[in-house]
C-alpha cells in the first residue's frame, strides 16, 4: 500500500513537472504554428512512455538505490568507520581512502545510468555519422565525473576554496577549447550540464553532506555543496581531452608512410 502511494505520488510529481512544458508547447503549437505535428498519435504514445518510464525509474531509485546509497555515504564518512577520535581537530586525508574510492565508483556508475546523458549521447551518435558512438561518449563523461567527484571529495577533506578549484577547471577547459576539434566542442560543453540530474544528484549530495559533517572544522552548509559543480566541469575536460588525444593519434598514424600509400591507392 505504501508502495502504491509512493508510485502515485511520483507519477503526480512527474506530470506536474511536465505541465509547464506541455502548456508552452501546446500554446505555441495552437497559437503560433497552427498545424498538427506529423505522427501525432505516435508522439503522444512516446510522451506517455517517457512519463511512465520516468515514474517507474524514480520509484525504483527511491526504493532501491537512494536508501542504500545515502546510508552508505553516511556509514563511510562515519568517524568511527574512518577511525577519527571524536575530539580530533585535524584528520589525515589518507584516512578517507574508502570515501574517495566510493566517490570514484559511484560517480562513474550513476553517470552511466543517467537518462539525460543517454538522450544526448543517442542524439550525438545519430547525427555524427559514425565518428561518435553513444557508448564512447558516455564512458568519457562518466570517467570525467569520477575524477571530478573524487577531487571534489578531496577538497571537502582538505578544506581548500571551492572557487579556486572550479576556476582551475574552467582554465583547463578554456585552454583545451583552443586545441580540440570544432565539431566536438559544443557536445563536450553540453555533456557537462547533463551529468547531474536524476540519479547522480541525490547520492552526491548525501556524500558531500556526510563528508562535511565528518571532517572537523567543515561546515555542512558551506562545504556540503559543490560536489555537483565538480561533476559538471570535469566531464567537459574528459570529453575534450579524449578528442585531443584521439586526433593526435590519428595524425601520428597518417604521418607514417604505409598509411599514406593506402590513402593514395584508394
Amino acid at each position: 500500500m505504501a508502495f502504491f502511494t509512493l508510485f502515485m505520488e511520483t507519477a503526480y510529481a512527474t506530470f506536474a513537472d511536465v505541465l509547464p512544458i506541455a502548456i508552452v508547447l501546446l500554446g505555441f503549437q495552437i497559437g503560433v504554428l497552427r498545424q498538427k505535428p506529423r505522427n501525432l498519435s505516435r508522439i503522444l504514445i512516446g510522451l506517455l512512455y517517457v512519463l511512465l518510464g520516468l515514474t517507474f525509474f524514480l520509484v525504483g531509485l527511491e526504493k532501491a538505490l537512494f536508501p542504500v546509497g545515502k546510508a552508505m555515504a553516511r556509514q563511510l564518512t562515519n568517524p568511527e568507520f574512518i577511525g577519527v577520535a571524536p575530539d580530533a581537530t585535524v584528520v589525515e586525508w589518507a584516512s578517507f581512502l574508502w570515501v574517495f574510492a566510493f566517490a570514484w565508483m559511484i560517480g562513474f556508475a550513476t553517470t552511466i545510468a543517467e537518462p539525460s546523458l543517454i538522450a544526448v549521447a543517442l542524439k550525438a551518435e545519430e547525427i555524427a555519422g559514425g565518428s561518435i558512438t553513444a557508448w564512447g561518449l558516455r564512458l568519457a563523461v562518466a570517467l570525467g565525473v569520477s575524477v571530478g567527484v573524487t577531487i571534489g571529495a578531496y577538497r571537502i577533506v582538505s578544506g581548500d576554496s571551492l572557487g579556486l578549484y572550479i576556476m582551475a577547471g574552467y582554465a583547463i577547459v578554456i585552454t583545451q577549447t583552443f586545441f580540440a576539434s570544432k565539431t566536438i566542442i559544443p557536445l563536450a560543453y553540453d555533456s557537462g550540464g547533463v551529468t547531474t540530474s536524476t540519479v547522480t544528484v541525490p547520492v552526491l549530495a548525501a556524500l558531500g553532506l556526510g563528508l562535511a559533517i565528518a571532517v572537523p572544522g567543515r561546515s555542512p552548509l558551506l562545504d556540503g555543496f559543490g560536489l555537483i559543480a565538480f561533476a559538471s566541469v570535469f566531464p567537459i575536460i574528459s570529453v575534450l581531452g579524449y578528442d585531443i588525444v584521439s586526433t593526435w593519434f590519428l595524425r601520428q598514424k597518417k604521418l607514417k608512410p604505409e598509411n599514406t600509400e593506402e590513402e593514395v591507392s584508394q
Binding site: 532501491a64 538505490l65 552511466i112 544526448v120 543517442l122 572550479i166 574552467y170
Partner: protein
C-alpha cells in the same frame, strides 16, 4: 508481435547493462568494505526491476515522442520564418521548464535557510519564502535568457565557445565579490536546472534547427543550448547574492 517482444527484451537487457555499474559498486561496498547484509533486500531487488523497466520505457519514449516533437517544432518554426516567435518560444520553454523544477525548489529552499542563518535576510518563514521565490524566478529567467541567446546563436552560426568562455570568465570575475554562502549554491544551481525531460527536448530542438537552416552544421551549431542553460544561472544567482 514476436519481433516486438524481442526488441523490448533487448532494450531491457541494455537498461540492465546501464545499471550494472551501480549494482556492482553498491554490492562491493556493502559486502566487502562495510561488511554488512543488505537491509530489505527484497525491496531493493523489487526497486531495481522498476528502475530497469522505467529506463527502458523512457528510452523507447525518447525516440518515439520527445525527439520527433523537438525536431518537428524546430522545422515548423524554421518554415514559419518568424524570428520573434521562435525567440519567444525559446524563452518560454526555458522559463517554463525551470520555474516548476522540483530540484530547483529544493535548492532555493536550502539557500534561503543558509541566507537567514547568515543574517542576510530576516529569520522568519515569510522572509525565507520570498527569498526562495525570487531566487527561483531569477534562475528561471536566466535559463529562459540562455535558450533565447542559444537559439539566436544557432540562427547566426556564431561559435558556442565565444559565449561559454566569456561566461566562464564572468563567473571567475564575480566569484570573489559574491557572498561566500551563495557561491556553492550558485555553482550547483547550474547543474540542477536541466531536467530529464528538458534535456532531450532542448537537444532535439537545437539539432533540428541546425539541420533545417541552410549552412548550419548539426554538430557545431546544434549542441550547446544545455551548456548555456547551465552557465547563466551561476552568474544570475551570484549577482542576486551580491545585490540582496
Amino acid at each position: 508481435m514476436i519481433s516486438a517482444l524481442a526488441d523490448f527484451l533487448r532494450l531491457l537487457a541494455g537498461s540492465f547493462r546501464d545499471l550494472l555499474p551501480i549494482i556492482l559498486t553498491v554490492a562491493f561496498f556493502q559486502i566487502v568494505v562495510l561488511q554488512q547484509p543488505f537491509p530489505n533486500l527484497d525491496e531493493v531487488l523489487f526497486g531495481l526491476v522498476f528502475v530497469v523497466v522505467g529506463l527502458t520505457l523512457f528510452i523507447q519514449g525518447l525516440e518515439m515522442g520527445l525527439f520527433p516533437l523537438g525536431n518537428d517544432m524546430a522545422e515548423a518554426f524554421a518554415r514559419k520564418g518568424s524570428l520573434m516567435a521562435l525567440l519567444a518560444f525559446a524563452f518560454c520553454l526555458g522559463f517554463g521548464t525551470t520555474v516548476a523544477e522540483p530540484a530547483l525548489i529544493a535548492v532555493t529552499a536550502e539557500a534561503a535557510k543558509i541566507a537567514s542563518d547568515a543574517g542576510v535576510i530576516e529569520g522568519n518563514a515569510e522572509a525565507r519564502a520570498s527569498y526562495a521565490d525570487s531566487l527561483r524566478i531569477i534562475v528561471a529567467l536566466s535559463v529562459g535568457l540562455a535558450l533565447l541567446i542559444g537559439v539566436f546563436r544557432i540562427l547566426k552560426g556564431w561559435p558556442i565557445y565565444y559565449f561559454i568562455i566569456a561566461g566562464y570568465l564572468l563567473v571567475i570575475a564575480i566569484t570573489p565579490f559574491a557572498p561566500a554562502e551563495i557561491v556553492g549554491i550558485a555553482y550547483d544551481a547550474g547543474g540542477v536546472t536541466t531536467s530529464t525531460i528538458t534535456v532531450p527536448l532542448v537537444t532535439a530542438l537545437g539539432v533540428g534547427l541546425a539541420q533545417t537552416i541552410r549552412g548550419r552544421n548539426p554538430m557545431t551549431d546544434g549542441f550547446g543550448l544545455i551548456a548555456l542553460a547551465s552557465l547563466t544561472p551561476m552568474i544570475f544567482v551570484m549577482v542576486f547574492g551580491m545585490v540582496v
